[in-house]
Point group: C3
């Protein structure tokens, strides 16, 4: 049963995002903008600004990757078809009479469908970013990871900057301090696809795309159905962090006991020893978000 599987994954990896998946992505992004407090009133009082925000929400990842590669950030504006598509979705979402769209979007099945299709576009974006960066820097695998990550999950950074400029957003380091689940999983995928690109991963790209997308969609849907956002990556993360940094904690614990020894420096000692309390606080903070 080798061939059917290959045929399936190949056909899947050749799916065109253009009409339907893009629409789903734009719909989810614009609805996210719509559900911000005051967004509707802004759309009425100043449509241009609202349209700009919508575009940033729809194409944020591409813009960020363009900035990182020193390409014109306005390049996305040359793709007139997608701009038109996103604009019309912005229009019907904000100005459809009786809010039919919002009403419809509020039904869980539709949300599930749209969110699932949006996750599919994420895979395509990561792969596109990785290959694009590879065309710039041969073997620049860190750059490939960064660009794949930026194009897949960077939209939130762009919109944060936009909100910062508009003053709607008081930065609390959310996206930086405790990465949201999409950021984490996008980073993971970006690493995987980069290794596949640099031939360190002996899997064919279309298989990888199929499996990663399946993984993404499954997690997303389960997270939406069971309103449970404590992330399935937690055990994986814990293992990793224990592998990398865990053996510290024993040390710092034993250090706790020997805390009474005179510390040789006054300046750094405040920041130098992450005591168990710090760690617990940090973990609790992180948990709250993830």
């Amino acid at each position: 049963m080798e061939y059917p599987w290959d045929d399936l994954t190949l056909a899947f990896s050749r799916t065109s995002m253009f009409p339907f998946f893009d629409v789903a992505h734009y719909l989810v992004s614009v609805m996210a903008l719509r559900q911000r407090p005051g967004a509707a009133a802004v759309a009425w009082s100043n449509p241009v600004s609202s349209w700009l925000s919508a575009m940033l929400h729809c194409f944020g990842g591409g813009i960020l990757s363009c900035v990182l590669l020193a390409e014109p950030p306005v390049k996305f504006l040359t793709n007139h078809t997608n701009i038109l598509l996103a604009s019309s979705i912005w229009y019907i979402v904000f100005f459809c009479p009786r809010d039919l769209v919002s009403q419809g979007y509020s039904y869980l099945p539709i949300q599930l469908l749209a969110a699932g299709m949006k996750e599919v576009t994420r895979t395509w974006k990561i792969v596109g970013g990785v290959t694009h960066a590879n065309s710039y820097y041969k073997n620049g695998w860190i750059v490939m990871i960064a660009i794949g990550w930026a194009r897949g999950a960077g939209g939130v950074i762009v919109t944060s900057c936009e909100q910062l400029l508009k003053g709607d957003w008081k930065p609390k380091g959310d996206e930086w301090l405790k990465m949201s689940f999409p950021s984490k999983v996008t980073l993971l995928g970006s690493i995987i696809f980069t290794f596949q690109q640099t031939k360190h991963l002996a899997v064919s790209k279309h298989d990888l795309m199929f499996l990663y997308t399946f993984f993404l969609v499954t997690i997303k849907v389960t997270m939406m159905v069971t309103k449970d956002s404590t992330v399935t990556l937690a055990p994986f993360e814990d293992t990793l962090s224990r592998m990398l940094f865990g053996w510290q904690q024993q040390f710092s614990m034993s250090e706790k006991q020997t805390e009474s020894k005179p510390s040789s420096n006054g300046t750094t000692s405040s920041a130098s020893k992450p005591t168990i309390e710090d760690l617990d606080d940090a973990k609790r903070l992180a948990k709250k978000e993830d």
Copy 2:
């Protein structure tokens, strides 16, 4: 009487901005910086920072369009003549004994003259931005509009970012939520000149430049003479918004009556229905600025 008109507009469209109009633009920009609270003291305590701010005020639009097209933002520094001009104006504005310049600038006729000449440079900037973007992206008319807009009115965004970095400025989304009058009229001009560039507008460019500049200067001067900043574009905007979104309001009004029907979703309904109150608030907000 065809020929004299053509001769006039052609001669006008060939006017060089360099010595006089640029001076007026720099003077207005630096005076705007000067009139910020504390700017004078900063110029005394740290001339370098004040000089940087002045340069950002004078060349902000060009910098923004460079950023949008992924050209070096420092490119404007290579035009030594204009830098020298702007720097000397910054110098005499801030350090002229007895503030002769500020004193002189405080007379209305001089302000009118300088503001009018600055508006002339605005036309040249928009045209320059549109043609420059056209050399990048053939038929990328959205990009052309964006670049023309950025070069014509983007300075305020650059200076806002600078003030944000300096902490002088708490963002309240002024420039984004309710566009100032220059932004609006620059956007209008950018659209017009883009259509002229893409041959959708059967007018010769020099005629258009003449008429648009005339329009700009007239409005600016009248606005300054009659301290009245409620904008002459208001009726135009209202018509447009009624054309685009007006038929909504009837719906939302009728919706108001049928408000009692059970809303199917709790989550979005808060943002979903821009009630008349929202609209009025928004409009009032917008009015306050325009």
Copy 3:
């Protein structure tokens, strides 16, 4: 004794920064990050974000100069060796058991050695920036100064933006209003090396590098030994500002006496006259930082 001197400076100017001086630079930068309140806890709760901050601290100047020249800001990620070096230093600084590194770094001699070596890298960065900008813009000496300055001292701007995004940092215009001592001395060096590059300064580059580095290291070490940060540039600055703007103060003083004359405008007069109090406040503010 001409030859030995030339040999010495030539040999010095050919020193490779790579293993040791870079390590010192990364160590100082990461320790600066480490000593921020809460940085250690963040490194435990979210290593990726902490690693990103560390990279920004280590390569900030290069990133800023890339942005200013419209080169990919991620270019520094292609230098895998230095990334690996910086990452390992970040790792041992934050996760070394019992904080051996912090403990060791807290001894003054080690700090002096590291800081001195870091200052050496500053010279190399300025020279690199100036020559790099020269390859872009022949005779664009303002650009050369700007790029040399950015690469030498721009890291602090990048990290400020990063902290602004993370919300750790309330901007108070520190770096802009009153330039820190490194900024000033880097600007000075950038100007000197630019003039050398444009042949306006008849000194061989290796002599200049030797002397400037000697100057940097001496000042830095003396400033660290005598916890005295009131800057040795103060007399130089005072002379310069007296040359450029000093003759103003007599005028504004005489103006003080004639303050009673009716001011012709109400709007600008508040900002227009920097009274002696303003100046004193400004100077006091500036002193506090320098």
